[in-house]
């Protein structure tokens, strides 16, 4: 089974803060908040609890002092307000070498692919397409931010 883990920071994420600052300056009144989650995708026959145990014990990916993670269900599901969720991944997959503890707990785990999930909390009048075209994909200088289309792919995965 394929598992997807969303790893976020407990404290302020400076990447997300800076990105929000740029976007909010360019498009005033459109974005209310911006969050970022490192996304890990892997295949294993292990159960959900085993995967959670392995992720929690692999301090290299999830440092319990500063990170939290959720498995399968995006952390944005429980949030209020209108949200646009965008998945940004490199065109050439970014394959991570699993930490030893992770590999010990999930011996049959396949390649672990890394990507980033951005959650735009937007104003009610903003739709997913305008987020993708104006804020996500960098087509020209000063347009778009979180995805360079030359070597990354952005996918709209949810509008809530």
């Amino acid at each position: 089974m394929t598992w997807v883990a969303y790893v976020g920071l407990k404290q302020s994420d400076l990447h997300a803060l800076s990105a929000f600052e740029v976007i909010a300056t360019q498009y005033p009144g459109m974005v209310v908040a911006l969050r970022r989650f490192r996304t890990l995708r892997f295949d294993t026959t292990a159960s959900r609890s085993q995967c959670e145990l392995a992720l929690g014990a692999s301090f290299e990916w999830v440092n319990p002092n500063r990170s939290v993670f959720s498995l399968q269900e995006g952390p944005w599901v429980s949030s209020k307000g209108r949200q646009v969720v965008v998945h940004v991944s490199p065109k050439t997959p970014s394959v991570l070498t699993p930490p030893v503890r992770f590999k010990q707990l999930l011996p049959d785990v396949g390649p672990v692919l890394e990507s980033v999930t951005w959650v735009f909390q937007v104003a009610d009048h903003v739709d997913g397409d305008s987020v993708m075209s104006q804020m996500v994909t960098s087509t020209r200088r000063g347009v778009g931010l979180v995805c360079n289309p030359v070597f990354e792919t952005a996918t709209l995965i949810a509008v809530t």
Partner: protein, 252 residues
């Protein structure tokens, strides 16, 4: 008495090579000014621009992308369109790429990207800092590289995590036919990691008109003879990278 050519070295928040870049320009007889990123006048008063290395805005989101949104990059874009020469070194190269200024497109389309370094089997190799060699390819086709010879093998420091050039549609074909720099060994032969530290082979590219250079290794760290470590066993009376700066100075 002739006027010294003035060059703006833009200091972004997080740049860390601006003063040695200015020192390199002084050494070559130019008049450098370290210009802050929020300077209201921009680069218009200067004859040329260099974007130095470093970690602008802590490399947040993607190396160079935050700086590419600054108003001063509009000024740099205007200067380049006016025909002024520009060099982006390391993070400066990433900023030029994210600003769409490496391909001379009219509307600054982003057609070049700098992705993470890769090893021989596609695995990430992270930040690589080492002395490496590069050689120019088709140097005669660009005014900035015209003093190099195709047989030159140039020692230089590489110091980056995101330096693998990726190309938009049609750009790679164009780059391969024009002047650029590629990684090689001390004999001028290309090879796998660590000879090629980024997993792609290309170390620097020139814009279509050849007046803008984006280069990932650091020429300013190889400009003085005593900057070359003794382990490389090279003994230079003058740095081979002076050819680049002589050409740059002539374009000012």
């Amino acid at each position: 008495m002739s006027r010294q050519a003035s060059v703006a070295v833009i200091q972004f928040p997080g740049s860390n090579c601006e003063y040695e870049t200015a020192r390199m320009l002084s050494y070559m007889g130019c008049q450098p000014t370290v210009l802050r990123w929020n300077d209201p006048v921009g680069v218009a008063p200067f004859d040329g621009v260099i974007l130095p290395g470093g970690f602008s805005f802590q490399d947040r989101v993607r190396s160079g992308v935050m700086a590419s949104h600054l108003p001063i990059m509009a000024s740099v874009s205007h200067a380049i369109k006016m025909g002024k020469p520009a060099i982006g070194i390391c993070n400066g190269c990433q900023i030029l790429a994210e600003s769409g200024l490496l391909t001379d497109s009219d509307d600054d389309q982003v057609q070049v990207g700098l992705a993470k370094n890769r090893g021989n089997t596609g695995e990430g190799v992270g930040f690589v800092c080492d002395w490496v060699y590069v050689k120019p390819v088709h140097p005669a086709l660009s005014p900035l590289t015209r003093y190099f010879d195709a047989t030159d093998v140039l020692p230089i420091v590489t110091s980056h995590a995101e330096g693998r050039f990726e190309w938009g549609e049609g750009v790679q074909d164009h780059v391969s036919r024009h002047a650029h720099f590629v990684y090689c060994d001390s004999n001028g032969v290309g090879g796998d990691f660590p000879v090629t530290p980024n997993g792609g082979g290309v170390a620097g590219v020139l814009s279509y008109q050849g007046r803008v250079l984006g280069i990932m290794p650091h020429p300013e760290r190889a400009m003085l003879p005593w900057q070359f470590p003794w382990v490389l066993k090279h003994r230079f009376s003058s740095s081979p990278w002076e050819k680049l700066m002589v050409a740059f100075k002539e374009l000012l």
